[in-house]
Symmetry: C2
Subunit: 209 residues, 2 copies
């Protein structure tokens, strides 16, 4: 498989963790979001949205959108599992993942921040306040809900950890104050001791600057 | 089951369609997002995020986040299916659903538009431009990718239709020009001939104004 990725993309980071966790070999194809490589026609043939990640399964099949890719990985490579067996608990894990996937990351990501500054003339303080507002809403709820013993959903790594860790990495990069989130931080530290997470980290990617 | 819902919420609308489509009876519990009922302590005990939808499965189990709820519905009530049998095609359908769930709706929803106006002082024109920018990016890709013969993924209703129709309803309410999207519009019109979609429409909810 080929993963079209960018080292700092949270969504690509999620898929890198899952591929590593399930022991699936892949070739990383870096797409430079800073130089606009994702907007070139060549890449638009891979991902019509011009976003990373995209996963090439074979000569004819490419999958986009990290959540679709992660569900496909879980269905096609079920062991080790990233969702619990219990039907209701699967929903709980997915709801925590969705808080990051839908209610934090899309609002706080690079293209939205660029629009705020470029089109609406937001200054640095306003941009930072925006970022902090949305991540605080999401992290407040996650901190109150996750188990953190030691992972989000208990003693097994789950989809919830796979979404949370890249978002925490991003939060720290934006100097978001994490002192109110001891459970989230403990999950972050614990996950970052695992090979699957370490090898997926931005600084360990071939395109890291 | 009890569905905590608001008639105009796109995310609640998705779940209403799916419940109807699968023939699952539920009681609607309206939560008024305009009067701030979702921010009251009573509702925060149902949904710590203070968002709709939330689905009460029984006395002890409540599920939040529409994508988690829809995946749970598909797993627990598999017929009629909302995802194809083929593993790759399931990913394709989910990727289209995710374009709406992650890349349009969270950026264009009420709480974000309220922040733009209230905190950043955006005027009506800027708010409208913001709305149109993000929906155009998403709809351009969906228009080029979906099959629309007659539904997004062919002759069966799928998750993709369940995400798309509430977003189109919202677009029309914001007077977004849909003339460049004949395939999306044809799916919209076709779905709105089905009972599951008609009964889930905002104007047919008990709390519709």
């Amino acid at each position: 498989m080929e993963l079209f990725t960018y080292y700092r993309s949270s969504a690509a980071y999620r898929v890198r963790i899952a591929l590593n966790f399930k022991g699936i070999q892949y070739d990383a194809v870096p797409i430079n979001l800073l130089t606009g490589e994702h907007k070139e026609e060549k890449y638009q043939r891979i991902s019509p949205q011009g976003l990373v990640p995209a996963l090439r399964l074979d000569d004819r099949k490419i999958m986009t959108q990290s959540t679709a890719i992660l569900e496909w990985l879980e269905e096609s490579h079920p062991a080790p599992a990233l969702l619990p067996d219990d039907s209701y608990q699967r929903g709980v894990v997915r709801s925590w993942a969705n808080i990051v996937a839908c209610d934090i990351h899309p609002i706080d990501n690079l293209r939205v921040l660029n629009y705020l500054v470029g089109e609406l003339g937001a200054n640095d303080e306003q941009k930072q306040a925006w970022y902090q507002h949305w991540i605080k809403l999401g992290f407040d709820v996650l901190e109150s809900q996750i188990k953190a013993n030691p992972y989000c959903h208990g003693d097994q790594v789950s989809m919830a950890d796979i979404y949370l860790i890249p978002q925490v990495y991003n939060a720290l990069r934006f100097k978001f104050d994490m002192t109110s989130y001891p459970k989230i931080l403990s999950v972050y530290e614990r996950c970052n001791q695992l090979d699957a997470f370490i090898q997926a980290a931005p600084e360990n990617q071939p395109d890291a600057v």
